[in-house]
Symmetry: C2
Subunit: 345 residues, 2 copies
């Protein structure tokens, strides 16, 4: 069922012949960060690497500060999704040999500031030179005791939460790639590090929305064999910017969750009997998680908007962007054509 | 003194504004891998990232199996140079979207086989798509107890050793870039993991030769404020292939140590009173390290070849390849022009 999604099938094909470490707690796809047991201790390491390549090549990220920021944040968000304490990053920077000092200073300032916000330090790195820029990082976190949080463990009836309103990743990508010249400073997602550490105490599964909210729900569905009904109306789930864009462009609200560029919130499930304690803990952090709905037995994604419930074909939606060769216009036309079947309200 | 070398100055400029982690044992440049103390334990983590970028772009590595092999080995060698036990790697692969299945299978086979030789596992990774291929990894190792080995600690009088004969990295690069069509399978360096773990018990400093042997000696000189006299004739230090190439191309033997493409041996120093115990340990491993000479007070690099001693201007040599824009012919002409001053034999 995982391999119905093109990206999952590619990962399986690339990683299929590798042996797993006896120290590794998670199997392929099961966790946002790799979880490594440290012999003779209670510690678990959380390791992650993510590189910013296509985002630079397509022009989605062209501001050097944003590129540096995102290279750290994409990795930090995966540490958050396993509930790890941040330790540090190693940078992997391929930069143009003719890059000006001002450009590099902004890139490094983005790295530095993102690290400071997340409680990470730059531990080291590798710098290479090529006209084809790409910037990434490798992040290290620690889970001091207890079971780490993974994408696995959700059961029907568990409550589905988001760490915050969704859709800002799509808003940024839509405006940037349609040449609407939004202020580059408008998109500065912050990994939910502190929230992730709290979520780890209560959640039955967790994953970040870095690849888009619907992709996240679809992946959790495939991994856990359960579906999700988002009974909270999408109008309340979407960030106000996303809702405004949907209205001004005549997009259905769910389309703002369908793009592959996410916003680094956490989606997680909590067993209903643990909800009161979880909300108490969130309240103590001054944090207001958003209840989206609940897991259900049927492996499908249902959303509520306006007066009706809609079932979304998330497999087709996830594969669509690649099939469109990454062209935003074609992707949006494709979403319109999908015309999800309305259910009774 | 470090910043006399262009690459050192760039690293300083890129990393200068970053704060260091209180858990990190090494400062910038002081270690082949980053060394992170784990609170509440005796464990030290060794972390490293290295990406294969210029080697692919220039055509130095064009065989997919070799690219996969080197992406692992370059990182494994840095784990070896701090004496760490290997744990695993995360891969960072940017591959052409149109890459054929056979090409990818060879790339992954190179990764898999290099990991198996080094006792590493693939823990995870990130795959991106671009016409501009680059492949790298992040490596994790463990140092279970005691002080990790760094590039720092050598004193005048310490004996200088290499884990093996030198110059094969230069031979491969020379032949490949001069279009001599050597068999791609001829270059398969193996990181000195087991030897590094033994060296850690005895060495006063250690560094791998991944950037070339003279660059390594020069860097150890700058970091420790001592020089090195290679009293063993270069004819005995060079690998037979390197010596043969020097003879057939009328190159001075030292030129085979001057290129920036190394062979992943370890250069390290041992206090003279510890040498007997070190050699006993090496013998037990069936390993024959090569004594090159000794550290000396004067911060210079002296080599012996033929009937004379030569002092090498390693700063000029290290900066030369970049100044030649990476062109091998110009680099070799530059080496010839350097005409190192002969000393009395």
């Amino acid at each position: 069922m995982l391999n119905e999604i093109r990206e999952n099938a590619l990962i399986e094909r690339l990683a299929g012949s590798f042996s797993r470490s006896p120290l590794q707690l998670n199997a392929l796809q099961e966790s946002d960060a790799e979880l490594i047991r440290l012999p003779g201790t209670e510690l678990v390491l959380a390791l992650k690497t993510d590189l910013i390549v296509e985002e630079i090549e397509t022009g989605l990220y062209d501001d050097p500060y944003l590129i540096g920021w995102m290279a750290v944040m994409a990795n930090a968000s995966d540490l958050a999704a396993v509930g790890a304490q941040p330790v540090g990053v190693l940078l992997a920077e391929t930069i143009p040999p003719e890059a000006e000092a001002g450009f590099l200073a902004k890139l490094q300032a983005g790295v530095r500031d993102a690290c400071a916000v997340c409680g990470l330090h730059v531990l080291g790195g590798d710098t290479n030179y090529s006209a084809h820029m790409q910037v990434g990082a490798f992040a290290l976190g620690l889970i001091p005791n207890g079971a780490p949080m993974t994408r696995i463990g959700c059961q029907a009836g568990d409550l589905l939460y988001s760490s915050g309103a969704l859709g800002q990743g799509s808003v940024y990508a839509f405006c940037k790639l349609q040449g609407e010249g939004r202020d580059a400073a408008a998109f500065r997602p912050v990994a939910r590090i502190r929230e992730g550490q709290a979520v780890r105490l209560f959640a039955s599964c967790c994953m970040d929305t870095s690849d888009g909210a619907l992709a996240t729900l679809d992946q959790l569905m495939r991994l856990n064999g359960v579906g999700f009904r988002l009974s909270t109306p999408l109008e309340k789930i979407l960030h106000p910017d996303a809702l405004a864009l949907a209205r001004s462009r005549s997009l259905a609200p769910w389309m703002l969750l369908a793009g592959p560029h996410g916003e680094f919130e956490l989606l997680f499930t909590v067993r209903s009997d643990r909800e009161p304690q979880f909300l108490e803990c969130a309240d103590a952090l001054g944090w207001h998680p958003l209840c989206l709905g609940a897991a259900m037995t049927e492996p499908a994604i249902h959303v509520v908007a306006g007066t009706g419930t809609t079932v979304l074909d998330t497999a087709t939606i996830r594969n669509l962007f690649g099939q469109c060769g990454g062209r935003v216009d074609a992707f949006i036309q494709g979403l319109h054509r999908l015309g999800p079947a309305p259910l009774s309200a």
